[in-house]
């Protein structure tokens, strides 16, 4: 069976082609674009909200994309338990749409930051990390101006209690360290999931670290984990 991946394209998405490439070349999926004005997600096994600057990110990142027609379908799909992965701008859209908790504020350094980071797997309660042992450190790039994840303290406590923090930024040694977090995120959070685990958002870009030629294949582990979980679920 071939997986079906739908990559949503908002005006201003710019990692859509990268995500499609990763889905096809790395996951071996049958991948397609879904234009933001469509409502038909094309029966996917996974929906990816890619990175970029939807609507120029002119108001708040993700704020305008949230109102795209396609988002109604994405919300309904997620509520039915469908798998949704939001990368960077996609994560911001998911937060704005209320599918994931917290907000992404401007980076603490007030500058866009593009560099390689290390993130540690904190939760395996999503198909994307089910096959990646907790504590695994993954290397991949970040590239964003607004990746400073924040939430009310009680929200964070609640997330921790339910194992919903999926990734934290860590230093070279694999531990949380000063300077490891590129954007000032609360508690070094790099990615979170919803309670059910079918929706995951993260700021780093696994699709840019999914082939040896790009310097890291760690991102591919998330895709491979998803493929395994989904195959397991189907069997």
């Amino acid at each position: 069976m071939r997986f079906r991946v739908s990559v949503v394209v908002f005006p201003g998405s710019n990692c859509d082609r990268d995500a499609l490439h990763a889905a096809e070349a790395v996951m071996g999926a049958e991948a397609r674009f879904v234009w933001h004005q469509e409502r038909d997600l094309a029966r996917p096994d996974l929906v990816i909200l890619p990175g970029g600057f939807s609507y120029g990110d002119y108001l708040r990142c993700g704020a305008m994309a949230r109102f795209s027609p396609v988002m109604e379908s994405v919300v309904a799909y997620a509520e039915r338990g469908g798998a949704v992965l939001g990368i960077c701008n996609g994560f911001q859209v998911l937060c704005e749409a209320g599918l994931l908790p917290g907000v992404l504020l401007q980076n603490a350094g007030l500058r866009f930051v593009c560099r390689e980071v290390r993130i540690r797997v904190e939760s395996t309660q999503t198909p994307f990390t089910a096959a990646v042992p907790r504590g695994t450190v993954l290397r991949m790039p970040v590239a964003h101006g607004d990746g400073n994840w924040n939430a009310a303290p009680e929200v964070l406590r609640d997330l921790e209690a339910h194992d919903q923090v999926v990734f934290r930024y860590v230093g070279a040694g694999g531990d949380r360290a000063p300077g490891a977090t590129p954007n000032g995120s609360m508690d070094d959070v790099a990615g979170v999931r919803n309670r059910r685990g079918n929706v995951l958002g993260l700021m780093p870009h696994p699709e840019r670290a999914a082939e040896a030629i790009l310097g890291s294949e760690d991102g591919a582990r998330l895709f491979a984990s998803f493929v395994r979980s989904a195959a397991g679920a189907a069997a």
Binding site: P11, G12, R17, G51, R111, I213, L214
Partner: protein
């Protein structure tokens, strides 16, 4: 009625930067006086910026042909075959004056403009590089100029999603009141999808696509052709504001529409907006156009035909479609949320007829404004190279060599520029194999095994000392930056930034530089396929140092085999390729350590440069190179230290030379390369070098943690790599963050 013939007063002509002589020529072309719209059009098209009226005669010298060249200069960008039915398209441009006035928007719209040049050719842009030239950081406004320019490039390039993978940053007092912002863009296209900007087919509709027109940057083209002064900075012409979001939509729309066959010709609106785009398309095709300017989408009420023709609003294109296919074209853009309007049609007669509200507001012939625009043969005096016969410069007051190395690593020109490059998204599109921080960036070409190496270079101090030789050095350095990755340099683009060409000594610098580039390009077999000239970079009588920025793209047959520029493994042998001579003149050591700018530009043997390039490509394709880094600012000691950074490695070198240690360490002789190879490969590597006549010697090995350099067995300097790396990595960041 405002379309009566003008009265050519002094003031009117000077506002339009037209000389009396040029005005007489206008009268004789038209057989009458022009009206104001026509005068504005003449002024824009005959500006230096659009017409190259001073530079054109010299640029003819460039070699522009080669077996791989699919498109040379004359179109929006040049194109070179890379096999697999693909071509690489690239070009460099300047946005100097606008960036000095408003650094964020000036730099941002510079990125936008050069990207349009790439995608109008039908190519998807894959990379941006940004050669920047600033005054000293403590000069007035400089800190915020640097900050604004970097934010502008970052803001535009990141949003549109094209990785900024490299660049260069050079500081020199001559740029204090005239910074240079050059931007190079690279794209990839299938041969059969290369589009050109040649209008054809009378009756074919002309479409306006993109942002609405406002009163932005009117007279931008003539401003770029004028000397800058403080008074003008105060007048503040309406600045163009970029909208990268719209550009992204225009880009996708253009690439989508060019997949079909509804489009005859396409051109972006750059300097002098609607005027230059339409006239140039007509000129290339030997046809004319009839346009109804009332149909141009506008942003505000009351914009006049004069303003419509001269506005430099961004993110706009002109498309000539096949008759009857206009709706098909427009609907693609509408899907992307972009305005597209038919504003006129192609006519057989080579004239431009402009209507507005039912009235003819301009009626002009094409050729006299474009291909037959004035050409000047201005007088020039060729420069006398600095430094008597390359005499050795005295180094009185030199500190010990380790102190000197540390000062060099901390100098703004040598120190690491991660503060800049980390603000750019260099990994978007998922093709960046080597990002900023190396001699050249390397991108894979999806769907093939190939890679593209991209680099920019120029050492303005070399050019100042000897414009011809210095410009040749720039070509060699950019080519070598590509070759150290293993890539075969394919072709050159350039951005020639000079002062006021009406001064014979400045024009002489220009002429010498063009000749220098020509010689180097012939020797390296890298034709010039595109470029840009920026003259009048002069403020209050002070000219910039001549700055011919060179961009090179190279081809890697196997991108997996790209050679890194830093040492990779302890125990590898270190090989120095090329000859080290006593060449401290015009160097970084002299300027940074001793505070002097004098002496001769280092010599350059173009045959030797070709041999080194060929050798590197040969060694890399035979997988004989573990790493390779070319020697530039600061010479061998700086390059050796840089090659150790990142991986916690060190190097132990002993140089066999007759030179004094300080000269052996810091001379900037070129071409030279520091490579590391597996022990056991040295016989093969040295033999390959010998066959090509490249001086080569094993000078040491890669060791853990410390940089140690001896000359003739006597230690010259030793320091822990970590200490040197901290200096190098922190100096620029600290200078930018502390204020």
């Amino acid at each position: 009625m405002s379309y009566e013939p003008v009265t050519a007063t002094r003031a009117l002509l000077s506002e339009h930067k037209l000389t009396d002589e040029e005005y007489r020529r206008i009268q004789s072309v038209l057989g009458r006086d022009p009206n104001i719209v026509e005068l504005g059009i003449f002024s824009a098209l005959w500006s230096e910026h659009c017409s190259y009226k001073t530079s054109r005669v010299f640029l003819k010298e460039f070699p522009t042909k080669g077996p791989r060249v699919l498109q040379g200069p004359g179109e929006n960008a040049g194109a070179v075959d890379i096999g697999d039915s693909l071509a690489v398209v690239f070009k460099m441009e300047s946005h100097n004056h606008p960036s000095f006035i408003e650094p964020y928007q000036g730099a941002a719209t510079g990125v936008g403009g050069i990207l349009r040049d790439i995608f109008t050719m039908g190519a998807r842009p894959v990379a941006v590089l940004d050669p920047l030239f600033f005054g000293p950081l403590d000069a007035s406004r400089m800190h915020s100029l640097v900050d604004g320019v970097v934010r502008g490039i970052s803001g535009y390039g990141n949003c549109i999603g094209i990785p900024t993978v490299g660049g260069s940053t050079f500081f020199h007092p001559s740029y204090a009141k005239n910074i240079l912002v050059n931007v190079m863009a690279v794209g990839v296209v299938r041969h059969d999808r290369i589009f050109r900007a040649k209008a054809a087919g009378p009756g074919n509709p002309v479409l306006y696509v993109g942002s609405r027109t406002g009163r932005d940057g009117i007279h931008g083209a003539s401003m770029a052709s004028d000397v800058f002064d403080d008074e003008k900075a105060k007048r503040r012409p309406a600045v163009q504001v970029g909208d990268p979001f719209v550009e992204k939509l225009v880009l996708e729309g253009v690439l989508e529409v060019l997949q079909g066959d509804a489009v005859v010709a396409i051109q972006d609106m750059g300097a002098a907006g609607l005027t230059s785009s339409t006239f140039e398309m007509c000129s290339r095709g030997g046809v004319g156009m009839r346009l109804d300017l009332s149909k141009v989408p506008v942003r505000e009420e009351g914009i006049t035909p004069y303003e419509l023709m001269l506005s430099e609003s961004q993110e706009r294109m002109v498309i000539v479609a096949h008759k009857g296919r206009e709706e098909e074209v427009a609907s693609v853009f509408r899907k992307w949320g972009v305005d597209a309007e038919v504003i006129g049609e192609v006519i057989a007669e080579p004239r431009m007829e402009l209507l507005f509200a039912g009235e003819m507001v301009a009626d002009l012939p094409i050729a006299p404004l474009v291909e037959d625009a004035p050409i000047y043969r201005r007088p020039f005096v060729l420069p006398v190279p600095a430094g008597e016969g390359g005499k050795s410069v005295a180094l009185d007051g030199a500190p010990d060599d380790l102190t000197a190395l540390k000062r060099l690593l901390a100098s703004p020109n040598v120190s690491g520029k991660e503060w800049i490059s980390s603000q750019y998204d260099w990994s978007v599109q998922g093709d960046t194999v080597v990002g900023p921080g190396s001699d050249a960036a390397v991108l894979r070409v999806k769907g093939t095994r190939k890679g593209l190496a991209c680099s920019v270079a120029v050492n303005p101090r070399f050019v100042a000392a000897d414009p011809g030789l210095g410009a040749a050095h720039a070509v060699v350095e950019a080519a070598l930056n590509c070759a150290v990755t293993g890539a075969r340099p394919l072709a050159v683009t350039d951005c020639l930034n000079f002062g006021n060409p009406e001064r014979p000594e400045i024009l002489g610098q220009f002429v010498a530089a063009v000749r220098g580039i020509t010689g180097a390009c012939l020797a390296l077999d890298t034709p010039v396929i595109s470029g840009n000239v920026s003259l009048y970079n002069e403020t209050d009588g002070g000219s910039i140092v001549p700055t011919p920025t060179i961009g090179v793209v190279g081809l890697l047959e196997e991108v997996r085999d790209a050679v890194p520029c830093r040492f990779v493994r302890e125990g590898d042998l270190v090989v120095l390729l090329g000859e080290t001579r006593d060449e401290m003149g015009a160097g970084e050591y002299l300027a940074t350590v001793l505070g002097r700018e004098e002496g001769a530009c280092p010599s350059l043997d173009l045959g030797a440069a070709r041999a080194v390039v060929d050798l590197l490509v040969e060694l890399a394709s035979g997988r004989r190179l573990a790493s390779a880094h070319d020697l530039s600012h600061g010479g061998l000691a700086v390059a050796a230290a840089e090659a150790c950074f990142g991986a916690g490695l060190g190097v132990d070198l002993d140089l066999a030379t007759d030179l004094a240690p300080v000269r052996a360490l810091f001379s900037e002789s070129a071409p030279r390369v520091l490579a590391s190879i597996l022990p056991g490969d040295e016989a093969a590597v040295l033999e390959a070098a010998r066959r090509r006549g490249v001086p080569a010697a094993v000078v040491g090995r890669v060791v853990p943690e410390s940089v140690r350099i001896a000359v003739r067995g006597r230690p010259a300097l030793a320091e822990r790599t970590g200490v040197l790396e901290a200096i190098w990595a922190g100096a620029f960041r600290d200078a930018m963050e502390e204020a």
